[in-house]
Amino acid sequence: MALLTRRQCLAGLAAAGLAARAGTARAAPARIVCLEWTSAEMVVSLGATPIAVGDIRGYHDWVEGPALPQTTIDLGSRGEPNLELLGELRPDLIVGAYGYGLDESSFTGLAPTFNVPFYSGKAAPYAQAQEVTLQLGDLLGRGGEAHDLVERIEASIAQARATIEQKPRKPLCVVSMFDDRHVRVYGAGSLLQDVLDRLGLVNAWTGATSGWGFSTVGIEELVAVGDAQLISLDPIPQHVRIRIARSSLWANLPCVRNGEVRSIPPVWPFGGLAAAGRFATFVAGMS
C-alpha cells in the first residue's frame, strides 16, 4: 500500500510541476545532449532522441538498453565530454549526472542544464530515479511518457515479483567480476538493492558498502553469503571467466558448488528506471 501512496504522491508532485510550467508555455528542448550513460538511459527511455552522448561504445557494452539511435554523436569520454563539440552542436539542454567528477559549472555557459542528482546519499536510488524521471519528463514536454515509464517499470517489477513468488527463491548476491580474485558486490544504498526489495528477494550481501552502494571485495568474502544464488552482471572478460574457473576457492564456494551461479545481460548499476526494469526482468527470467 505504501507503494501506491508514494506513486500517487509523485504523480501529484509532477502534476503540480506541469501546472506551474504550463503558464510559461516554454517550448520543449529538441536538441538534447547527454554527458554520461545514466542521463542518456533516462532520456532515451522517455522516447526522446539525444543528439550526442558521452562514450557510446561503453554505453553499448555496459548499459545496453534502451538502445541509442544510430545517428547519435560520440561526445568523447564521460570524464571529459568534449566542450568544443558540445558548443558546436548548439544544444537546447544538457543532461548529466555530476557526482562522479564533472563540474556542472563547465556546462552552464553552453546551454541550460539538467542535473540528474543520483547517489547524493539523500534518498533511495529507485525513488530518486522515479522523481528525476518525472522532473525530466516534465522538462522535455514528455510528462505523459514519464508517468507511463514510472508505471511501466512498476508494472514490470510487479510482474517479475509475481513470477518469482511462484517458487521459493534463495537469497541473491549480485556481483560484477573484474578479475579472478575480486568482485564488486552490490548492497545497501544501490539501485539493485532497491529492486531486490521490491521483488521480495533477500540480498545475501549484508556487508558494508561505499556511498555508491557497492564494495570491492576478495572472492573469499563470498563465503559469507553461504548458499545464495550468485548473479554476475555481464560483461565478464573471457580470460577472467577462464581463470576464475580454475580457482580452487571459487570452485568450492557454496553457491558455485551448488550450481547457483547465473550471468545476466548488462545492467548499469548506477542507472535509472530502465536499468531497474531490466534487472527485475532478468532476475525473474533466471532458472
Partner: protein, 667 residues
Amino acid sequence: MIASALPLTRPGSGLWMLVLLVAVPAGLALVLTTIDLMHLLPRALWWPAIKAPDTSDPAQLLYRYAFLPRVAVSLLAGAALGLAGVIMQHVLRNPLAEPTTIGTNAGASLALAAATLYAPWLLESGREAIALAGGALATAAVFALARGRSFSPVSIIIAGLIVSLTFGSASALLMALNREYTEELFIWQSGSLVQNGDAAAVSLAPWLLAGICAAFLLWRPLRLLDLSDDGATALGARPVLIRLAGMGVAVALSAMVVAETGVIGFVALAAPALASLAGARTLGRRMIWSPLVGAALLWLTDRLVQHLPFATEVPAGTATAMLGAPLLLFLLPLLRVGPEGQADVISSARPSATGRRLIAGLVLLILAGVVAIGFGRGVAGWHWIWSADLTQLLALRGPRVTVALSAGVLLAIAGTLMQRMTGNPMAAPEVLGISGGASFGVLALLFISAGFDRTAMLGASLVGALLALAIVVVVASRNALSPQRLLLAGVAVATVASALAALLLASGDPRMDFLLAWLSGSTYRATSADAVTAATVAAIVLALAPLTARWLDILPLGETAARGLGLRLGQVRAVLLALTALATATATLVIGPLSFVGLMAPHLARMLGLRRAVPQLLGSAIAGGLILVAADWAGRTLIFPWQVPAGLIAAFVGGPYFMMLMWKGRQ
C-alpha cells in the same frame, strides 16, 4: 662512487640486532595470524584441514584456499622482493634501486594493460609471461640507455625514471581511453594479496628457490662489484656480465611478484636498508637477512591491513608504501649519501648565440600559442577559429592554453632551480614531494568524503603541498638542506601519494574519472580564474628567479666552492626552495601532479647551449611552456572528440625523445 654501495654505517651492532629485526615483526605477525586463525577454525582442525579439508565447511574452505595461501604468498613475495632489492641495490650501487625505480614495474604494468585490452587470450593461462616480458623489456631499455656510461648509478636511475614515466604514461593513456575495461588493472596495480587458491604460492615458490640458488652462485662475482670496475677487471672479472646476471635474477624475481600479486612498493627498498642498518654490512649477510626481513615485514603488513575498518579492501601494496615511506623518512638522517658528482647525462651543444636561440624559442612558442588557440577540430573536421564561433571557442580554449603555458613555465623553472640547487640531473618538482603532497591532499579528501567539491579540493591540495614541504624540510634540514636528502624525502612523500591514488582507483569509486584526468595532467577543468592565478604566479616567478642567478651559477660547483665564495647555504636553499614550492604548488593546483616537464625542460635548455643560470632559466621556461601548449593542443585534437590529458602526451612523446638523446649521447 664506491661509497654509495654501502650507504649505512652504524658501529657496534651485532647479530642480535638482525635477529630482532626479523623476530619482532615476524612475532607480531605470528600472534595476529594465530588470533585470526582461532576465530576462523577450531585448533583441532588446523592440521587435518591442510591435508584434506572438508570444503563443505566454509571455515575450512577459507582456511585452506584463502587464509593459508595468503600467508604463504605474503612470505614468499616479501622474501623475493627482499632478495631482488639487495641485488639491485648492490649491482646499481644505489640505495634507491628497487623494481619501481628502475622501470621493471612500469614495464610489467604496460605489458599487462596492453594484453588486457588487445590480447586478453594471452592472459588465460596467467600473467607471468606477460609481466616478465614487459618488466624485462623495460629494464633492458634502462640498461641499454645507461650502457655507454658503464651503468653508472646516476645514469641508471635517470634512465629508470625516464623509462618508468614513459611506460607509465602509455599505460595511463590506455586506461584513460578504456576506462570501464581496465578495472582489473586498477585492482592489480594496488598490490592485493587476496588469494583464490594455491596457484600463486605454487608458482612463486620455485621462482624464489631458483632465485636463491642463483644469488648463491652469483655471490662471489657480485662482491667484486664493490671494487671499482677497473679493479674488478684487473682481477679477471667482467663487471658488465656480472651486472647483467645479477639484474636478470632480480628482475625475474620482481616480475614474478608483480605478476602474482601486483605492485608491492617499498619492500624491496626497505628490507635491504633495514638489514644494513641493523648491521648486515657484507653483501653475503645482506643477501641472507633482507629476504627474511622482507618476508616478516610483508607478512605483518598484510595481517595488519585486514584489521582496518574500511568497507573496501586495503591492498597490502598500498599499505607497504604507506608504512615504508615514513620509515624511509625516519632512516634518512642515518643514511650517508655518497657524493653523486656532476653527471652530465645529455651531451650539449657548444654555448653560442644565446640570445638568438632564446628569440627563436620565443617565436616558436608564440606560433604554438596561435595554433593552439586558433586551429582545431569540429563536427565538419579541421578548421580555423575565425570560421567558427569565435567568442565561444575563445572562452573554451583560452583558459586551457593559458593554464598549459603557465604550468609549463612554472614547472620548468621549478625543475631548473631544483637541478641547479641539488646538482642532480634527475631532480624534478615531483621529486621534492610537493606534487606528491598536493595530490595526497586531494586523494585524502576524496577518501574521507563522498562528495565532490572543487573549492575544497583546491584547499586540500594546497594544505597537502605545504605539509609535504614542511615534512621534507624538517627531515632534510639536519644537514643544511642537503640536496640528496631532500630528494630522498621527496621520493618518500610522492610514493605515499601514488599508493593512496592506487587504492582509490582500485576501489572503483565512480569519481575516479576525475582523479585519473587530474593525475595525468589534464587542462579540461581549467577555469578563467585558474588561468589568471597561474599566469600571475608564472609572471612573478619568472621575474624573481633571475634574481637568484648568482647563487644558481655557484651552487652546481659544489658545497665547498659555494661556501668558499661566501654563500650562506641554509638561507640560499631556503629561498630557492620557497620559490620552487610556490611554482610547483600552483602548477599542481591548476593542472595536476605531472613532473616530466620540470625534468625535461632544463635539459632541453642546456642542450641548446644555455648553460648559465639566467639563459637556462629563460630557455627552460620557453621549452616548458612550448611542451605543454603543444601537448594540450595535440590532446584536444588528435582523437577528437575524445581527449588525452596534456601531461600524458608530454610524457609519452617527451620520454622517447629523451631516451633517444640519452642513446645518442651515450658514447
